[in-house]
Amino acid sequence: MLLHILNRSPATSEVFRQALAAMGPDDRLLLIEDGVQGAVGALFGRFSGLEGRLYAQEEDLVARGLAPLCAPSVVRVDVEGFVTLTEEAQKTVSWF
């Protein structure tokens, strides 16, 4: 199981498609920085099928005022949770 990390918003960048294409069936996806926009509103639809494997960095949601808008099925993790995710994955792959 790998951890993929995405920091770009699906509103502007098609990079999320590369992350999705490279993900195995058990891999996890963590949204950080502007990537957390993907946990909100209609953009969340880009990640359908990842229920239980889609994470978002809590601090980035909070700083942007997006925490109240975050889709309920997204698992919110703080930076300690980010470290835990990297421990649990065999390796990490970043998409930016």
């Binding site: 920085e33 470290v83 970043s94």
Partner: protein
């Protein structure tokens, strides 16, 4: 306890990558892991700019990295080729290129890309922060 390395490819201020990487680095150390190095590549080399003078009410990332190195003995390795192109030289490289003054100093060290490959394959985890 695992061995971690960080690859940072975003400049401070222009992107959040450096903020994220510094926070992650501190969390890795706090968790008891060993952070074997931070490698600065692409625009990430600007994190070593000793002349950076950010506004007083904003985090000073260059100092933040130096504090991480002091607190946890983390090597701060800057790709020399990426740095030279971008105007980041230590005293030795400045002399070699006939430039007066320098823009990089310890604890940041200019080094080759081989260090990145070494870090990546030697550590249990390499985490990349891009711009």
């Amino acid at each position: 306890m695992m061995r971690y390395a960080i690859l940072l490819m975003g400049a401070p201020y222009s992107s959040q990558a450096a903020h994220s990487a510094l926070r992650f680095a501190r969390a890795v150390a706090a968790r008891g892991h060993r952070l074997e190095g931070v490698f600065f590549y692409h625009d990430g080399v600007h994190n070593a700019a000793r002349l950076a003078a950010p506004p007083q009410d904003e985090p000073h990332l260059v100092d933040g990295w130096a504090a991480l190195a002091a607190d946890h003995g983390v090597p701060l390795q800057v790709c020399i080729a990426a740095a030279l192109r971008r105007g980041l030289l230590d005293e030795r490289e400045a002399a070699r290129h006939g430039k007066q003054g320098h823009s990089v100093e310890p604890p940041f060290e200019l080094t080759g890309l081989g260090q990145l490959v070494d870090l990546g394959l030697r550590c249990d985890r390499l985490v990349t922060f891009g711009p």
